[in-house]
Amino acid sequence: MFSKFRDRKLVEKVTQKIEEESKGITVRIMHVCGTHEWTITHFGIRDLLPSNVEVVAGPGCPVCVTPGSEIDMIAELSTKDGVAVTTFGDVIRVPGTRTSLSEAKARGGDVRLVYGIEEAVRIARQERKKEVVHFSIGFETTAPMAAVEILKGPPENFSIFSTHKLIPPAMEFLLKSGLSLDGFICPGHVSTIIGVKPYRGLAERYRKPMVVAGFEPLDVLLGILSIVRQVKEGGWGVENEYTRAVREEGNVIALKAIGDVFEVADSWWRGIGRIEASGLKLRGHFEEFDASKKFGLEAPPADYMPEGCGCGEVLKGVIKPEDCPLFGKECTPNHPIGPCMVSLEGTCSIIYKYRSLRW
């Protein structure tokens, strides 16, 4: 099934159509998903596009937009006696404002990498004398797992530090900011959870076409073609190209679990700032599993970026990674300085690794 979405002839046809349909107009499209950036860069999609059609990356990497102050707090917590912090591999090297989880681990902190939150709960069951704190990070795709595990009733030595964030409010923030954009490729996996509906109001309010797309080269190209056609005709509809995985209403079981466990709150996005109603925090009656209450992890957000780092502008699609003075010089995947170079889904890291396909 997947090879059909890599069909060379069809790719050529779609590319040709994009060129035809975009004659005489310029189209600037943003995607908000690290995996879309991977598809675009890995398969050299930007090289297939005419120069008047541009695709830029937005804040599609949850690790990159987690504030440095939250990384500091969780890293320092891991060094406390009797506490173990569980998290995903992507997060561990991301610099906070003073420290990182890998630095804390080197200082003797108990930091454990897990494949999913289920594994973190299992650790808590096996090690009842440890306070196991899961660094619960991610967009709508990752929040349902945390919600389900909380609803199942984890042991009392388990808690989560929720920094979950929501994508549509961030899209709205960028649209409101007046960034020059003609349309959005909406994130495929986030959309399996939230469905197509949340984008409809956005498209209407800001008169921008939006397309939910999958992750094969043809998925992305069809998404681009659909936006180009709409821009040409002056339309702003929402289309679902990823129907094989995304339903209009989303995953209703997942949405219910999220709603039962979390409430929407304002949230701070690293490099971008505070975005209204863009985060998820545990509801009051799940307070016993809320690490921020249990360990007093409440600090004013500090929007720190390493000196000279352009991640903030990269995350907003204002500059390309190559335009950052540190990119590929002081800052590389082996010696990352900013969060977008650390995370595997960070735009800088992806562009750096596959740039030979572009230059």
Partner: protein
Amino acid sequence: MCLAIPAKVVRIEGDRAEIEIGGVKREASLALVADAGVNVGDYVLVHTGYAIAKIREDEAEEILKAWKEVLAEG
């Protein structure tokens, strides 16, 4: 982080499934796709140990067919 991988369901037991990704077998929870009618042989998208969507092959065919028509319009 939001990476989800298509995996083939090879065995189901309650809300747990054994899944296969490129020859590697793992376990995944089907709790979030309980209403999707997942059967052995189906493909699901798996994210951090949970299946989040059943992949519907008929929809994939349908969308490609629709686009081929658009492309043929000239």
